[in-house]
Structure formats: C-alpha cells, structure tokens
C-alpha cells in the first residue's frame, strides 16, 4: 500500500535512502493536488524526465482523476519506455535503483513507474578473453538487455525462451535462464531453476558467484564453462544446452559442460572440418604435454634413467652437472616462478608488463642457467609446459589443470613412472566419475556415443552431422535433414 500523500511518501523514501544526495524528489502542486516525482539522478537520464515526464504532468490541471490522466497522458506520449503501475512501497528502491521514475499522486494508492534509465554501459566490444581469428567479433557486455539482444539477434525463433529471476537480497541481480523450448531437456531447466531459487545471499555480482551453487560434485576441473562470445552461446543453445546470463556480467554460464568443450575453440565451427580436427588433436596433445611433461622429466631424471636413449641421457646428465638442487625442487621452484610471472602479468597494468617480461626472460631464464642454479633442460620443460597450458581459453580450466600437474609432479617425485601411471588412473577415474545433470563429464567418449563423436575430437563436415548430441538432450534430436 502507498499512502495517498506524496509529501509523506517522499519523506519516507528520503529516510530510506538516508538522505542520499542522488535521490531527486519533486513535489509539484497543481490546484489543490500534489504530485510527487521521485528518481535517482545517478541511474536515470535527467533530460528524459524533464522533457517528457514533468511536462506531461504539469499540463494536467483539470478536475478529472489525476492519477488516471497522468497515466493516460504518458502512455499516449511516450512509446518506447516501459510504463506500469505498482502498489507496494517496498518495490520503490528496486525501481529507483534500476533507473525508473516514480510518480505518486494524492488520489491513488498506486504509483506510476516509468523507465528513464541512464545509459551506463559501455558499447559492444571485441571479445578479449576469448579471441578468435575467424568468428564474429562482438562479445557480451554488462548490459543485461543488450546481452539478451545479442542472442535474439542470432536465433530468430519464438522457441528461444528467457526465464528471469532476481537473486540476491540486496543486489536483486537479474538472472536469465535461456534455452530452446523444444530442444532443451525441461527436467534440467527445472533442476537449475530450483537450485537458483534456493540461493539466499545478499549479493550476486558475477556469474562466477553462481557457479558454486550450480555444481553438483566436487572437482578441480570446472564443470561449468563460461564464455563471453554470443556465437558460442547460440551454438550451444541450438545443441540443447542451457545458458545462464547474469546482469552486469559479460560472462555467461553454459550447462551442462563436458570435458571436450574445453578443447574446442570458437574458430572450429567456421573452419574447414579437417583443419579444425587437426587443431583439436593438437590441443589435445597440448593438454597431455602440459599435464605430464614436468612429471615425466622428474621420473626420467631421478628414477627411470634406463628409459631414454644414451645420447639424451648423457646430454641431460652433463647439463645437470653442478646444479645444487634436486630435480624435483628445481622444477617446483621454476613452475612457481612462472605461475607468479603469469599472475603478475595479468594483474599489472599494461605499461609495466614489459618490465615483467624482461625480468622473466633474461634474469630468471638466462641468468639462472648461467649461474647454474637450474639446468637448461628445466627451463625448457617449464617453458613447454606453460606454453601448452596457455592454449586453453577458460582460465578456471587452466588453473584446474595446474593443480593436477602439481599432483602429477608430486607422485612422480615419489614413485617415478609408477607414480605417474597411478596418478593417471586416479585422474581418469575422477574425470569419468563426474556427472552433471545426468550427462557424464567425459561424454561423448565415455559412454561412447558414435553420432555425437562426429563433433568431438574429430569434426566431421557440417553436412554430415545430422543429430544433436544426445548427452545434452534427447528432445528433438534431428539437427539437419538430409536431402540426398
């Protein structure tokens, strides 16, 4: 209920906001009636309010019911903004903060709410965290409606449904679940909705915050991929996946994600299939290299020297001459140094990162070898490992792989190759045991799905892929009809 006295209402709201200076209120008197206008300067566009709203209010001075006249007047004059009425004073802060103007009058217990949002977003820019050579260049922004628009623009089907909910007691963040109505598995949508509804926290500021609530099982490698590319998002929507968009966050979440999704790149869909397959195999090799190289080096150098050819062994042994540290410590030391370098490179402003790379390359690389603190081969191992890890785009995935790499190093420094093999068994068991919303993390490889394997490690030509991946959704499996 709203009191029928604009004066009191304004006073109340001012008190609620603690007399914040950006709360702008006007009490307009026409004949015997009072009209109250409330808006937040900081989040609304002042010129819209003065040009349209205030003018249309002041013109009214007859005896008809004031509230209805103003509403009709605005409705007939302003077409491109949301306009509706609310009857609960508790909703005021939400609309004010979202950039709405609220009009209250003497003769009604309702309030008119009119959108007068200020443009506080940056424009649509190129994707920075997931660059691609041959793909569309736009990326999601902080504006929720723009993000939805970027998806709508690409899929012009009425079956693309958006379900919105507000999460966070204080932030009241808009979170939209997007899915293709007749493709996505509705049970999965229901489960996700239930999970999101259970969240009761003061604020959700980023889609990354939601990730923890949506995960089902503990795992180091993230089970939910995030992306800032609308083209990937739409591709996944068409495959039947469910997308979660969060207000004020350019990263969306893709559910369910399988392991192979991290190996695919945005370019893959647009390239010749054989080249895309080749790059995917390359990326798969890079994954294995980045996981295992330091561990294998430690195993070879400290336990299983008989596994490598003579010349290589002699070369390694001569390089290690005079190095004071054990191989294990040497590797750990330099892996740590590299991780710190990478972290500082991400965090530091761009004009200081050159200094960082000079220190990294010259001081830590060349000088450390010359001073025989580390052997050259260690530098090579660390370099190969880190370059291979940078191929992947999802930073959470890279960090997950890093944790596993350290586990592999640890096991190989204890048991040599036997340690690596046992750790690999644990790794594979862990991966295959993961499941999200009834789709296995290692699908379509295990359980094997031959039809879905046409776009897994090897990508077939597009005219030959007829079905959507069945591990995502079993509804409406036909993606393409063959006309031949």
């Amino acid at each position: 209920m709203i009191e029928k006295d604009p004066k009191k209402v304004i006073k109340k709201i001012k008190k609620l906001y603690g007399n914040s200076k950006d709360l702008n209120t006007r009490l307009i008197k026409t004949k015997n009636k009072n009209i109250g206008v409330l808006f937040l300067e900081s989040s609304s566009n002042a010129s819209t309010i003065s040009d349209f709203i205030t003018k249309s209010i002041i013109q009214e001075a007859n005896d008809k019911p004031l509230f209805q006249t103003i509403f009709n007047n605005i409705e007939n004059k302003i077409y491109n903004s949301q306009l509706f009425t609310i009857d609960n004073i508790k909703d005021f802060p939400y609309y004010l903060s979202s950039g709405f103007t609220i009009i209250v009058t003497d003769d009604s217990s309702k309030a008119i709410v009119l959108e007068s949002r200020a443009n506080l977003d940056r424009g649509i820019t190129e994707a920075t965290s997931e660059p691609a050579l041959r793909s569309s260049k736009d990326s999601f922004t902080e504006s929720h409606s723009k993000n939805l628009g970027l998806i709508r623009k690409r899929i012009k089907d009425e079956n693309l449904w958006f379900e919105e909910m507000k999460i966070g007691r204080r932030t009241k963040t808009r979170v939209t679940i997007a899915y293709m109505n007749n493709i996505a598995d509705y049970n999965k949508v229901k489960k996700i909705k239930a999970k999101l509804k259970d969240i009761d926290i003061d604020g959700i500021l980023d889609s990354g915050n939601l990730r923890d609530y949506l995960t089902e099982k503990k795992s180091i490698i993230p089970q939910i991929k995030s992306s800032e590319r609308p083209d990937i998002t739409c591709q996944e929507l068409l495959n039947g996946k469910i997308i979660i968009l969060t207000e004020n966050c350019p990263f969306i979440l893709i559910l369910p994600t399988v392991f192979l999704d991290y190996i695919k790149s945005p370019d893959d869909q647009n390239q010749k299939s054989i080249n895309a397959s080749f790059t995917r195999i390359l990326r798969f090799c890079a994954l294995i290299i980045t996981l295992l190289t330091p561990a294998i080096y430690i195993a070879v150098a400290t336990y299983d020297q008989n596994t490598i050819p003579d010349k290589l062994l002699i070369s390694l042994a001569v390089q290690r001459e005079g190095v004071p540290f054990p191989t294990f410590f040497e590797i750990i030391l330099f892996m740590t140094v590299f991780e710190i370098l990478r972290e500082s490179d991400i965090r530091s402003p761009s004009n200081t990162s050159i200094a960082g790379s000079i220190v990294g390359a010259l001081v830590l690389g060349q000088a450390a070898v010359d001073a025989s603190i580390v052997s050259p081969i260690t530098i090579i191992v660390v370099a190969v490992t880190s370059i291979c890890s940078l191929i992947f785009q999802d930073s959470d995935f890279i960090n997950g792989i890093r944790v596993w790499r350290f586990l592999f190093i640890l096991s190989s420094s204890l048991l040599g190759f036997i340690g690596i093999i046992s750790m690999s068994l644990i790794f594979i068991t862990k991966l295959t045991a993961l499941e999200y919303l009834n789709s296995s993390f290692t699908s379509p490889l295990a359980p094997l799905d031959i039809e879905a394997n046409k776009d897994a490690i090897v990508k077939f030509e597009l005219p030959k892929i007829y079905k959507r991946p069945s591990y995502v959704s079993k509804n409406n499996p036909i993606k393409q009809r063959s006309k031949r």
Binding site: A301, T302, Y303, Q305, N306, D310, K311, L313, I314, S315, L316, A317, V318, Q319, R320, E321, G322, V323, P326, T327, L414, L415, G416, G419
Partner: protein, 380 residues
C-alpha cells in the same frame, strides 16, 4: 585410518631407487682383461665434468676407470670405490673382451651381466684383435661428438656395407652359444696406430689422427671358447652366408685382366634337404665396378662369360670355406647341426659335422656395366 596408511605406504615405499642424474656415472663401454689370474675390468664413463665450460652438451669428457678382482663383480666394486659417482650400467653399449678371456670361455664372464637387472641385453660384444681391451676404451675418436659413443658408431656405421650389428650383439652370441649345434662368431675390433697417443686430447687436433679404431676379422668360437681368427676374405664370405653383407666387393681375373664386381644385393638361404644333406643357395646381383680389360662390354656374350666366371669363382671360394669349417676348424658357425636337431632330434646324436654333404648353388646376375662400355685406354 585407511588414508593415513595409504600416505604412509607412499612415503615409505617411494624414493627407494631414487638417484639424481648428476650422481650417476653413466657407463657406456666396458673392457675385460685377464691379468695374472685376476680379472681386470675397465669402464668408460661418459659424463665426466666438462674440462672448460662449453655450452655444447655433447662435448663431455670421458674417463676410464680400471680395477682388478677375482670376479667381475669384485672388480666393479673396486671401481666404485675409486669413482666419485655411482656406476650406472643400464646404458652400456659394448663390452670388449681380450682373447685370453675368449679362450677361457665367455660364459663365465657373461654371468655377471646377465644377472645384473640394471643392464639391458642390447649391447655389442667385441673381441680385441691384439692387445688389451682397456686400450680400446681410451682411444679418442676424432669424428664423434660424443666420444663415449665412438665404438657404437663404428659398428653401426659399417652397417651400410655389412650388417655387423646383428652378429656383434650380445644376445645373439649368448643365444647361439646356448643352442644345440651352433657355434658362435664374434666381431673383432682393432687399434690402428699408437695406443698411447690415441688416448690423448692431441689425437683430436691433428688432421690425420694418429690412432683410430677399425673393425677386424671374425673370431671363430667353439661353444663359448675362442678358437681362431678368420682371414679377411673368409670374413666377407661368412657374412654373405649369414645374410649380413649388404655389399660385396669381389675381384677376379678374366682373360688375365682384373675385373671388380660390386653387388648391393646378396641373399643366401641354407636349407636342410635330408639328414645328411644341406643345400646352400646364394643369389648375388651386381654391377661391373671396375675393369682394365678392353673387352667389348656391348657384346652380351662377353658379359655372359664374365658373369659365368664370377659365379664360378664365388662358388669355388664358398666351397673352400665350407670344407675348412667342416674339416679344419670343426666349428659349426652356420648352425648345420642346429638344423638337423630341429628337424630330426633323434638323429642328432649321430650327427657329425665332417660327415654332412653341402651342396653350394650360386646364381649371379649382372645388372649394368656402368657408364663405360670399353676400357678408357685400349691396347693399341
């Protein structure tokens, strides 16, 4: 509780055979000699610290350590006392024995290397032609960037002309020794030049090396005991019969002028026809490599005659070799007895090497006569 036991298991069982690379002395070759009734073992260590810090990884200095003992194991223990690092045998390339060891029987020595789980059985086994085997290890080869690998490279590089690698391998030797009706052969190695000069760094600095290593003739063994050396010509033919020669260079007289034939394909099959009858088929394909006769090679009849002569000469030599083996050496290096044993195991008791009939068939083929059809300088 289970978790702690698991972690404990890892920590207690792990690190057992842990050894850092720079604590290992990688042995790439070993020599075994006999000195005053004791075994003298010398090992070549590949990764001694570099003399002056050079950035090329290959330029490691090599070191030879030597020690004596009643057994091989004892001698190696003595070396470990001298060497600052732990000896690591898994990358051993070749073992060189002296003829004294060969005469005593090689199997006594082999026991240590076969029993040691560290060594791979994929190294070469060589006998030194003359002198002490430890001297071979000391020779610095000018053409090899890894000095420790020079002997291995020598064996493997001669594989383009002949496939010695197979017959020089340790497992092949042991395999033949153990089999019934087989006598093994061993490749020999020779030091050319002064052995003392060859062990100095100065050997690398001269254009013409003072000392170098080369492959020698074949040592014929009876069981595991060394009997005698073959001559150079016999060596080549033995390799042909063993299917080891890829290239055969053969000279003979035709119309009192020299003809040199070069073949790059020889194929031999030895078959058991009957209990007492073995046939040896040799097929050789080659070119006329060199000649000083003015025979008109455009005339196919002449070429045919040369071919016939070539064939006859080879046949004669092979027959001579087999007769020698049967009657003089009495060493069954081609495994005739083994063939009989495999097919007629009951008859094998009565098998005698000098009783067996060997039929030699040689087929030769001349592919081309080269770019010249006549000798350059004709008789006027």
């Amino acid at each position: 509780m289970k978790k702690y036991i698991l972690i404990l298991l890892l920590l207690l069982s792990g690190c057992q055979n842990y050894s850092e690379l720079n604590q290992l002395a990688i042995v790439t070759a070993a020599g075994i000699d006999k000195d005053k009734g004791k075994y003298e073992v010398s090992v070549l260590i590949a990764n001694s610290p570099k003399v002056n810090s050079s950035n090329k990884e290959g330029e490691a200095k090599t070191t030879v350590y030597k020690a004596k003992g009643k057994t091989i194991g004892e001698a190696i223990k003595m070396i470990e006392l001298k060497s600052p690092k732990e000896l690591y045998f898994s990358h051993i390339n070749c073992i060189i024995i002296s003829d004294e060891i060969g005469k005593e029987g090689f199997l006594k020595v082999a026991d240590y290397f076969m029993r040691n789980p560290e060594t791979r059985n994929r190294f070469y086994l060589l006998q030194i032609d003359k002198g002490k085997s430890s001297d071979v290890l000391k020779i610095i080869s000018p053409l090899e960037s890894y000095p420790s690998q020079s002997i291995k490279t020598l064996i493997e590089s001669s594989q383009t002309s002949s496939n010695i690698g197979d017959s020089a391998s340790y497992s092949n030797f042991i395999g033949k020794t153990i089999q019934k009706g087989y006598d093994p052969i061993m490749t020999t190695i020779k030091i050319n030049g002064d052995k003392d000069k060859g062990s100095k760094q100065s050997n690398l600095e001269t254009t013409e090396p003072n000392t170098y290593l080369s492959m020698g003739p074949i040592a014929i063994y009876k069981n595991d005991k060394f009997k005698r050396l073959s001559s150079n010509k016999e060596t080549e033919l033995i390799r042909v019969l063993n299917n080891e020669n890829k290239e055969l260079n053969y000279s003979f007289k035709y119309k009192e002028k020299n003809v040199n034939m070069f073949s790059n394909m020889t194929k031999t099959s030895i078959k058991l026809i009957d209990k007492n009858f073995i046939s040896v088929d040799i097929y050789i394909k080659g070119d006329i490599f060199e000649t000083d006769s003015n025979v008109n090679l455009n005339d196919y009849k002449e070429v045919y005659k040369i071919n016939k002569k070539w064939q006859k000469n080879i046949k004669k030599d092979v027959k001579k070799l087999i007769d020698k083996i049967k009657h003089k050496w009495k060493c069954d290096i081609f495994g005739f007895g083994n063939m009989v044993y495999k097919k007629y195991p009951d008859y094998y008791k009565n098998f005698k090497l000098d009783k067996i009939n060997v039929n030699v068939k040689v087929k030769t083929e001349i592919i081309s006569t080269g770019s010249l059809t006549k000798a350059i300088k004709e008789d006027k």
